[in-house]
């Protein structure tokens, strides 16, 4: 169930260039189950900035009623978010949307998790849950440059982890698709989150595979009421059938919606 709650900041730290890790505590953690869901944050009490900001859930800790997000502080809202200190409270709406299906991969099968930049965080909780189920996970993480790389170590503890940077300043040079090709990585199910061009490339390349993609779109309400975040469906690309990224997604099976 969707809840609104003032959650307490447990910790916040910078983990890469412009990238912050923020852990909050609140009762709504017990509503979180699927990795890939997101929360909608009202960052300031005031009306500037006015809109909530959608941020993925990167880690769920039911035991301590805590969850973690990893985000890039770039615009007005996320920069203010980066100022929050331990003990401050943040207005959280969530959990929202539908995440990655754990059930799609059987125990013993291999899941390939491909993340690009700020699309990496939700894959962490996904990976943890897949590993717990007995799925073999392989991670391919792409970043702009070495100073933007984060969470490599954390992913490595869960499974083989490849890192690529666009400028080659860390890991191998190039895109996540290069890594998959160069290393001839095979998999049963592919889960991915990142910039749209990356998602498109993966969708095209693995057209006959089971692929789940997490999408981004500008949002108003975040709960499906305002029609800000719609996309066309794959079977009716010009018509008036649609899916809402916020409530039907953000995770869709490849082909389900038009990227």
């Amino acid at each position: 169930m969707i809840k609104q709650e003032m959650c307490e900041v447990i910790s916040q730290s910078q983990i890469a260039s412009h990238i912050y890790k923020l852990t909050l505590r609140g009762g709504l953690v017990h509503e979180m189950d699927e990795p890939g869901q997101f929360v909608h944050l009202k960052i300031a009490e005031q009306m500037d900035p006015i809109l909530r900001r959608p941020i993925s859930i990167a880690e769920i800790d039911h035991k301590h009623s805590e969850f973690t997000m990893i985000y890039r502080a770039e615009g007005k809202g996320t920069k203010l978010l980066a100022n929050k200190k331990q003990g401050d409270v943040i207005d959280v709406l969530g959990p929202l949307g539908h995440g990655f299906p754990i059930a799609a991969t059987e125990k013993g099968e291999t899941a390939l998790l491909v993340g690009g930049g700020i699309g990496v965080p939700p894959l962490f909780e996904l990976s943890k849950q897949l590993v717990k189920k007995g799925v073999k996970v392989v991670h391919v993480l792409g970043f702009q440059a070495s100073e933007a790389v984060f969470y490599e170590k954390e992913f490595t503890t869960l499974g083989t982890t490849y890192v690529a940077t666009v400028d080659g300043s860390y890991g191998s040079k190039g895109f996540v698709t290069d890594i998959i090709g160069d290393n001839k990585l095979s998999f049963d199910v592919l889960y991915t989150c990142g910039p749209t061009p990356m998602l498109k490339a993966l969708e095209q390349k693995y057209i006959d595979k089971e692929v789940y993609l997490s999408l981004e779109e500008r949002m108003g309400c975040g709960i499906g009421a305002c029609f800000a975040c719609v996309c066309h469906t794959g079977d009716d690309p010009q018509g008036h059938s649609y899916k809402k990224v916020c409530s039907d997604g953000p995770v869709f099976r490849a082909g389900e919606v038009v990227l």
């Binding site: 169930m1 609104q4 500037d48």
Partner: protein, 314 residues
């Protein structure tokens, strides 16, 4: 005290004067997961057109300082589905519906209005002559008094329930528009719709909204709405449902003082999805603190002469 919020307007006997504004609440399904829709005074459902519409390409929303732009483009499942699925579904709640009627041409408006007005739970229509986000139709209906009057009359002729006309703020003379639709037979006004605005992304050089322009809503526009309601309410004798940046019980009173008889909440539903029930809960205490027994005593208080005012405790 418990009856201090009950109001009665043409077609509408409401337990309270607070309702979500059209387009900011869909058809209520999503918010029904959060609270009981029967708590609301009424629901203004999303604009309905004759045929289903996909609407504009995304991005459809952009944030502005204390406001937002939207260019949804009247996405809706079309008249038939709104009747058979959405309105039918809403019948489970004890809440009157105000159905927002949109179109590109006169015939569409008339057809949609006629049909929607037959639905059991539709207690009034809201004639949307002011949607800034559709290239054809809409805007002319909303800016030329004669055209607005004519459309109002035609819709009134076919409607089985009272008709409220939603005014656009993007005009030189809002009073002239209001009087025209009153002449056309409007039972009430709803105002304001959004101001036409734009934002440009300085990194890409193009407008943030795919449709280029969008409608500006939120607290940023509240002073414009208050001014227009203040002007119009002194010049017409039909009631006004006010809207534009309402965020709190205090804002509701400000709208009443300006001249409104009920208040709709739009953008604030995105900021705080529980805002409508919160405001409804806070209003009785606020009224009490301000010395009113009933909210309707507040209407027009900023301009009414002393002798026109109903009872007010000292």
């Amino acid at each position: 005290m418990s009856h201090s919020l009950e109001i009665s307007l043409p077609g509408l006997n409401l337990k309270n004067p607070i309702m979500p504004a059209s387009g900011c609440f869909g058809f209520g399904r999503e918010f029904s997961q959060l609270y009981d829709l029967s708590e609301l005074g009424a629901i203004m459902i999303k604009a309905t057109t004759l045929e289903p519409r996909f609407g504009n390409p995304t991005p459809r929303v952009a944030e502005t300082t204390a406001g937002m732009l939207n260019a949804i483009g009247l996405q809706n499942p079309g008249l038939d589905k709104v009747m058979s699925e959405e309105l039918a579904w809403l019948e489970q709640y004890d809440v009157p519906v105000i159905a927002n009627v949109a179109g590109s041409i006169e015939e569409d408006y008339i057809a949609v209005a006629k049909e929607l007005s037959k639905a059991k739970n539709v207690h009034a229509l809201e004639l949307n002559i002011s949607c800034p986000n559709v290239k054809t139709g809409g805007i002319a209906f909303g800016t030329i008094p004669e055209v607005a009057k004519d459309l109002t009359r035609k819709v009134k002729n076919v409607s089985e329930v009272p008709v409220y006309v939603k005014l656009s703020p993007n005009v030189t003379n809002i009073v002239e528009m209001a009087k025209a639709v009153e002449d056309g037979g409007a039972d009430g006004l709803t105002m304001i719709n959004t101001l036409v605005g734009m934002r440009i992304d300085i990194n890409t050089g193009v407008p943030v909204i795919a449709n280029k322009t969008g409608g500006l809503s939120g607290p940023a526009i509240k002073p414009v709405a208050i001014r227009m309601i203040h002007e119009v309410s002194q010049q017409v004798s039909i009631p006004i449902i006010g809207m534009g940046g309402v965020q709190s019980a205090e804002d509701v009173i400000e709208y009443y003082y300006a001249g409104a008889s009920a208040v709709a909440v739009g953008t604030a539903n995105f900021v705080d999805p529980f805002i409508c029930p919160k405001i409804i809960k806070e209003l009785p205490d606020l009224l009490n603190r301000l010395g009113f027994d009933h909210i309707s005593e507040c209407t027009g208080r900023s301009w009414k002469k002393h002798e026109q005012l109903v009872h007010h405790r000292a």
